[in-house]
Subunit: 437 residues, 2 copies
């Protein structure tokens, strides 16, 4: 008999089925046993008499008949709550060892180290699964949004030959007789590709040798990168990003209502338009609202970001807010200064729910100006030769942005630690399992 999926049992009362899945929970009432069977499509109650003992999480096959539950036993919380399976035979396909903690509850009550040390097991919990279903939808929505706008997908390389901007936070790779590095961002590649395809995006792993353990940094993360040319203004970049964000939210809302409900999560509110503040304006608002005088600072501190998000929600009805015009000299060489005041740049962060979601902006496209910046920033032309090659032969005005897939997932679902939004999080202390075991 063909395997049926659990989700397909509803409405087929009286039919005999073969189901396969995991024994999610087992309630042994003496002779009668209830097994909640879980497969990729859902969960269903199965009931049988004199069954052989099955351990939770074992993979089993159940042959049985779909029957209607008595009205008062209907479980409105699950999609199959109106039916159950009368078990006729049960076969263990792959037995599970004794669980180190209870997996059956609505929440998985383990601390973060345990959650990660038992990653292959804890991911089976429905709330953990839900995180990565949402993440898959976010990532696919990012791509679909850009495909609709004529962007082409590219595969960004991870191994790079030089770190033009130096920085201790880069991983070194022994590359035959040479030293190579792991890419912190596909920025230079995506910009140079604008000279070829006009509009490009990539979903790629990025690497940062972050030497501290925080709730929002990973050493390996998934970056959603987009870049496009023939912009008329830096604001075109903001509009494109807003379009992508709205598309992502609408896909998550459409496809992940069950997952959002598990986390009591609501999608961030966006007003008619995401508000835009220059850094200086943001600093004035913070001063006015809190008395903290941050007006001479060159960046926003985490508490400033939280305050501006509060302001944005209260005054503009938006959980998201753009901050533009950061200090040119604090930004990478490729960022375009604002001609009206070149000490500030067309550099834009998107803040959401108190933290940074993305950064982006308009880039330089004038080869001569790029060469001047390279000098001023103290870089070596040889370290960015391929990038310079593109601009030497003509690249249109361009800009773009990068979203962190884990951060977006985290803040949509209200997770406390970005590690929860990475299947296999890596940090200073851990690659899969802790080094210090």
């Amino acid at each position: 008999m063909e395997r049926s999926l659990i989700a397909d049992t509803v409405g087929k009362v009286g039919q005999k089925v073969r189901l396969e899945g995991w024994a999610n929970t087992i309630r042994d009432h003496g002779k009668i046993t209830f097994i909640d069977l879980r497969d990729r499509s859902g969960i269903i109650q199965c009931v049988g008499e004199s069954l052989k003992r099955v351990s939770p999480e074992s993979v089993i096959e159940i042959m049985g008949t779909i029957s209607e539950r008595p009205e008062k036993l209907i479980n409105p919380k699950i999609a199959t709550g109106s039916v159950e399976i009368q078990i006729e035979s049960l076969k263990v396909l792959s037995p599970a060892a004794e669980l180190p903690f209870d997996m059956g509850g609505e929440d998985l009550n383990v601390d973060l180290p345990t959650l990660l040390d038992y990653r292959a097991l804890t991911l089976r919990h429905k709330k953990q699964q839900a995180i990565f279903k949402v993440q898959a939808v976010i990532i696919d929505a990012f791509r679909q949004a850009l495909l609709k706008k004529d962007f082409i997908e590219f595969q960004a390389p991870s191994i790079i030959s030089s770190v033009p901007e130096g920085g201790a936070e880069v991983f070194k790779v022994k590359y035959f007789d040479h030293e190579a590095y792991l890419s912190q961002s596909p920025q230079l590649y995506k910009s140079l590709l604008v000279g070829i395809f006009e509009r490009v995006f990539s979903v790629n792993q990025i690497f940062r040798a972050e030497p501290s353990v925080t709730t929002r940094h990973l050493t390996e993360a998934t970056s959603l990168d987009a870049e496009f040319g023939f912009i008329d203004s830096w604001k075109d970049v903001l509009d494109m990003e807003e379009y992508v964000i709205r598309f992502i939210f609408s896909e998550v809302e459409k496809k992940c209502s069950d997952e959002l409900a598990l986390f009591d999560a609501t999608l961030p509110k966006i007003s008619d338009k995401i508000p835009v503040l220059k850094l200086k304006e943001a600093q004035k608002i913070i001063y006015k609202r809190t008395g903290r005088d941050v007006r001479a600072e060159k960046d926003l501190a985490p508490e400033d970001e939280r305050e501006i998000c509060k302001w944005s929600l209260e005054e503009k009805g938006s959980d998201l807010v753009y901050i533009s015009h950061f200090v040119t000299k604090k930004k990478p060489f490729y960022v375009s200064p604002d001609p009206e005041d070149p000490s500030y740049a067309f550099s834009v962060d998107l803040l959401g729910r108190g933290v940074e979601w993305s950064s982006g902006g308009q880039r330089l496209n004038d080869y001569k100006v790029i060469l001047e910046h390279v000098k001023e920033w103290g870089l070596k032309e040889k370290d960015i030769e391929l990038y310079l090659q593109s601009f030497k032969f003509g690249v249109p005005p361009l800009g773009g942005f990068a979203l962190g897939a884990e951060r977006v997932t985290m803040h949509i679902l209200g997770l406390k630690n970005v590690r929860e939004a990475s299947l296999f999080p890596r940090d200073m202390e851990r690659v899969d399992l802790r080094f210090s075991r």
Copy 2:
């Protein structure tokens, strides 16, 4: 005035438009100049009098009027061949330096080192662009095919903490105070995730410290990985892969007819069903057809692969052929032996047009047997702890496959070297540019 795309000019004779793009070719006939303008949508002839000099590949803006070409000047080779633009004004947005070689021909006549040393420029040639448009379609088709079958996408990590099977061909990463490695394959991750999601796929970079320069190896490549559980037989894996391959071909055929035509490429033929040969059967066929006695070999040599593909096309009408039942001990520990003769395994390569496209098969899912293999293969349990954790708690019978995106692109288009199918190929001698310059 809003920018128009070149592809949208056809049928709008008499309208005034603003076009932006690259000066693909320039033909100066004294007072009259012809410029073929290229943007992401196509190419169009523009004509003007007394224009200022523009260098090829410069980014320009043209304001002009769409006019019909005289019947005998219609160019049937391009989509906009029935019209041209009467230039009213021309502005250089980003000038190009003098080109190191001619970019205007139907083919880009440069050798491979030049092709790669000038990657940011050579990719602008329409045949180079075409390769990566086809690749983007292949990759998206892979994902769409599997999404339709209820697979979930995951992000495979690149940094790994151990190399369970050793091997010199792995890159080392300095990871804070530890040594880490770059992943050669997401195999263990995708298998362990079957214990969670049943059906998973990923598009990810893989890394091999290939110490030789060949026409078919890259040190960094894009792997298309799929894995799924609750299979009834190893043949389910072949069927799923065949479905994915057919889906990819049909998408490429639908979306890339122009790109295929540029390469005079035809999609590989598949008969009703991809033929399946056991290694031993393949060896007998080779002996019979060529007299070369390879029946005692433990693998197929490149010339054997070519011969079997010839056989497959001649005898079965299929450019693709599966080879199964490789020698168990020559395969990784996780491969499932065939119970009928455990010295051969449910391990399957897909050959296409003379070379290997993918490998896959059924994996072990019995925890005890896996542990036995780990011992027999001389591995350390600690090196694959997270993988073992999954199987300790129940994983269904499973299998999967991995396709190399560059190889599939290469063999669909008939490219000679896999480097041509990688935007930024990396090998022993090169990361972007050659080390030995």
